[in-house]
């Protein structure tokens, strides 16, 4: 390992600009002559728009235009789309309702935009918005997905009877019923997986500009996947042709999934920029973000896990109702199906699984992928079932897991996933060791002396990263292939630019990707620049989500580097007057095997562009290669998280005392960055378990719609984390990488809830386990004691 190569904790190249305040986020961009957009949003969860009077607003100082959904509809642009077709079990296609960028006729959730004011200043736009008079005919609202499916509930969209988008399933119901019948013991649980708000610290923003002469649009936007945004905006919505639209996602302040999707605001800004012939800027307020950024999770689930007399699992049955909100967001359909049910086997050998998923519309903000996306929900089901089963069966929870671990790879689950490599015993054992599980009883006694209830919970999770291969996801309804692209440009001076279709919004690609190039080409890491997030620079890319940038994005870079090396060897052979097969490349030197003849990478790069000393009729000048990498399988990171906490029985307050995470991410390029990803994931998972909840009242008002009301995790909520690694290489990609971005968020909720229920002795508590919820659960389980 070199000081900056694979495996080194290299300090991040991108940090210099961030710690000095010189980053360039979308809102930092100011275009000459720019004007501001302010959206007018529905204050009602469900209402007909009977009249919108914009006359007075249009006369307000500084106002350039006021547009309504009716104005937008005139241009007959396409709807926002969900790009993953999921069919119901009867083969019928999902019921995707129209999702115009500006609502016309009817609004379907609080925050649904139906008009926009464009003015010289933001204050003027906001002042004018106050003068828009709208008559609403308020309609009944439905928030709960179970209620939404009931007979008698109003129908939100014409295309969706029972407000149901699809009734999907995986597995054979009859065979599963037979398997479950043979179980000696069945554990049954009902769960609510609480709705979350992603809350990346940088609010979404867009700056749109139209060049009248060139008939060309430019959009700066907070996107995790600018090429996909360009494709959807051009091919489906039709605001601008693809070759006349440049999308730039500059520094992006966190995404966690919420910035994958194509949102109304960037579409409207582009459309309006042409109409008013001025650059149009919009930046979300946090309050606006709460009612427009796609939310996460929101499942209602009943699950059963059956065991034989030897405590071996014989079958699992799951029924989930997923709330997708008022419209289908870009990838929403896939989250509770292909990213959820396919992980229900966990780390276990389960011979029969049947899972039904109904996705439904409600009058709430659309729900889509949020860190983990389906996999945290699956892990929560599996790991809560395992822990509760162990308690019901009277066996040690670690032992029950060991009894059922998958140990032979590759392992084909009954829910379509093909696990390629792993060692679940190793991560469990290492986590138990680091955590000092043996000392738990002693610590529990010590807590009891102080009147506190101590609990310990495991979560031995699995996730699937790098959604793949394209042919498979295509057959499952994905509208895009899920490969990645890369281009390696070697400059005449020997410095290198790597153009990647991945996008960094906190993950440190500028460093990690440069480490790979530095090691492969034997050049200093400072001579490598990673270019991403600009459709004019990078030809195409699928972006960053689902922990895919290492396993898929870096694999594409490896392929491009292979091609660079191959061409460089041809050139070296000519320069060194040797056979191509005799050229070796090591530590930045091309040499002829068995001789002292060699040429350094920098000299070769210059020679490649000068072209004097090799036949340019046989070998083209230049040294630049591109590659597309389509994975052959998902990757399957896995590990074990252990949460230990104390509950104060008087107040219900929970204090996490220690946290151990041991993860198997395959090859790790930069352990410092990887550990950082684990820390952040844990914090979001703990946030879900203890603090966070998007709470709606019955009328569809978001009650936790600001940082005053929505409990974001703070520094005081956490102990110092203990993070360890185990390693089994992923066999399907050249570097053996698996992905690390979501593991913490996937593992953590179950670990916390397993620990709390272990401490308080009752399973009847939902997330978030606020002090009030814990106190209530304690009272209900032991009313005599609590009184």
């Amino acid at each position: 390992m070199t000081a900056t190569g694979i495996g080194a904790p290299v300090r991040r190249k991108e940090d210099q600009r961030f710690i000095t305040g010189r980053g360039h986020y979308t809102d930092d961009h100011a275009r000459p002559g720019q004007v501001y957009a302010h959206f007018i949003r529905s204050p009602h969860a469900h209402a007909k728009l009977t009249k919108i009077d914009t006359a007075e607003a249009s006369r307000m100082p500084g106002v350039i235009a006021v547009y309504t959904g009716e104005d937008f509809a005139v241009d007959k642009l396409g709807s926002l789309i969900c790009g993953w077709m999921v069919n119901s079990r009867d083969g019928s296609p999902m019921n995707m309702a129209p999702n115009p960028a500006l609502a016309a006729g009817k609004v379907n959730h609080v925050g649904d935009a139906y008009a926009v004011v464009i003015a010289e200043t933001l204050a003027q736009a906001k002042d004018a918005a106050e003068k828009v008079v709208t008559d609403f005919e308020i309609l009944p609202a439905v928030i709960d997905p179970v209620e939404a499916q009931k007979k008698g509930c109003h129908q939100i969209h014409e295309c969706a009877p029972d407000n149901t988008i699809y009734r999907w399933h995986i597995g054979d119901p009859d065979a599963n019923a037979g398997a479950m019948k043979k179980a000696r013991h069945v554990t049954r649980l009902d769960f609510i997986n609480n709705r979350l708000v992603p809350n990346a610290l940088e609010p979404r923003a867009a700056v749109a500009e139209y060049d009248v002469g060139a008939e060309h649009f430019t959009l700066w936007t907070t996107s995790q996947n600018p090429h996909v945004a360009r494709l959807v905006i051009s091919a489906f919505i039709g605001v601008a042709p693809e070759h006349k639209l440049r999308v730039i996602a500059p520094d992006v302040g966190g995404g966690f999934g919420s910035k994958i999707f194509i949102y109304p605001e960037e579409v409207v800004c582009l459309w309006a920029a042409k109409k008013v012939a001025r650059p149009v800027k919009w930046t979300a307020d946090r309050s606006e973000a709460f009612v427009t950024d796609a939310h996460g999770r929101d499942h209602v689930t009943h699950a059963e896990l059956g065991f034989d007399e030897n405590n071996k699992i014989v079958g699992m049955r799951v029924k989930t109702i997923a709330n997708l909100g008022a419209y289908m967001s870009t990838f929403s359909s896939a989250v509770p199906t292909y990213l959820y049910a396919t992980l229900l086997s966990g780390q276990y050998d389960i011979p029969s699984i049947y899972c039904e998923v109904d996705s439904v519309y409600t009058n709430t903000v659309p729900v889509d992928a949020y860190r983990g996306a389906g996999r945290p929900e699956a892990t929560f089901v599996v790991e809560r079932l395992m822990e509760v089963s162990a308690r019901e069966l009277g066996v040690d929870p670690a032992e029950l897991r060991r009894k059922n671990f998958v140990r032979s790879f590759p392992y084909q689950t009954v829910v379509a996933s093909l696990y390629d490599a792993g060692d679940y015993d190793a991560s469990l054992a290492k986590a138990m060791d680091i955590h000092d599980v043996k000392g738990f009883r002693q610590r529990k006694r010590e807590s009891a002396r102080r009147g506190k209830l101590r609990g310990l919970g495991y979560s031995t999770y699995i996730e699937a990263c790098g959604v793949a291969p394209s042919a498979v996801v295509g057959s499952l309804g994905a509208g895009v292939g899920l490969w990645e692209s890369a281009e390696v440009r070697v400059n005449p001076t020997g410095s290198v630019e790597v153009l990647t279709g991945s996008h960094a919004h906190g993950q440190g690609h500028e460093t990690t990707f440069a480490q790979l190039v530095s090691e492969r080409l034997g050049i200093p890491i400072d001579n490598v620049t990673v270019v991403h997030g600009d459709t004019d620079k990078v030809q195409f890319g699928m972006g960053t989500y689902g922990s895919r940038s290492g396993a898929v994005g870096m694999s594409a870079i490896v392929k491009a580097l292979d091609k660079v090396e191959a061409k460089a060897k041809k050139i070296a052979a000519h320069l060194l007057e040797a056979a191509e097969g005799d050229i070796e490349f090591k530590d930045g030197m091309f040499s002829v095997a068995g001789t002292d003849k060699s040429i350094g990478f920098g000299d070769l790069a210059l020679a490649a562009y000068v072209g004097h000393k090799f036949p340019t009729s046989e070998i083209e000048p230049g040294l630049k290669e591109g590659a597309f990498y389509d994975p052959t399988n998902f990757t399957f990171p896995a590990g074990c998280h252990i949460c230990e906490l104390e509950v104060d029985p008087d107040t219900g307050a929970v204090r996490i005392d220690r946290w151990t995470a041991v993860d198997d991410f395959g090859t790790v390029i930069n352990p410092m960055i990887v550990e950082g990803q684990v820390h952040g994931g844990i914090a979001q998972g703990v946030g879900q378990a203890l603090l966070e909840h998007a709470v709606y009242d019955k009328d569809g008002q978001l009650m936790s719609g600001s940082f005053m009301d929505y409990a974001m995790p703070r520094a005081e909520n956490f102990p110092t984390f203990q993070v360890g690694m185990t390693e089994t290489k992923c066999p399907s990609n050249p570097l053996g990488m698996k992905g690390c971005g979501e593991a913490g968020a996937i593992a953590a909720p179950a670990a916390v809830m397993n620990a709390i229920t272990n401490a308080i002795g009752t399973e009847h508590i939902d997330m978030p386990a606020t002090p009030a919820a814990v106190w209530r659960a304690l009272k209900q389980s032991a009313p005599a004691q609590a009184a």
């Binding site: 991040r12 809350n199 520094d251 302040g253 952040g680 005053m708 703070r714 110092t720």
Partner: protein, 156 residues
Amino acid sequence: MASVTMTVNGKQTSADVDERTLLVQFLRENLRLTGTHVGCDTSQCGACVVHVDGVARKSCTTFAWQVDGAKITTIEGVANGSTLHPMQEAFREHHGLQCGFCTPGMIMAAIDMVNRKGNDLDDKTIRHELDGNLCRCTGYHNIVKAIAAGAKAMAK
């Protein structure tokens, strides 16, 4: 309109601004000092923390006219030329940032924390003092480490 004069990062500046102009808007839009960020609208996240006469202040809930005559330091003004402030250096060394959006406010709050609490900061103190600063990426683990190390380095 309000007339404001202030010294920002050592440079005196004057402007006539709408009375509603917040300090953060004045910094970001009038002076184009975009290192100070806005992450919320309820004064909770702390991405907008700057120093007003040496004391941390949330610039998103301060009108520009309220700091008329004051000395303002923003994240762009804490380094000494090309030499980073020890707290900036510590955030890099300990991987105390990921997306970087909360970072300017974190660093400004951390320097203020050291000014008030001294150079020997324990984990508990740092976590408590960070109550007004939100980070969604790091789980705070490395921010706490960075601030402890930065505080020590500031004593040198």
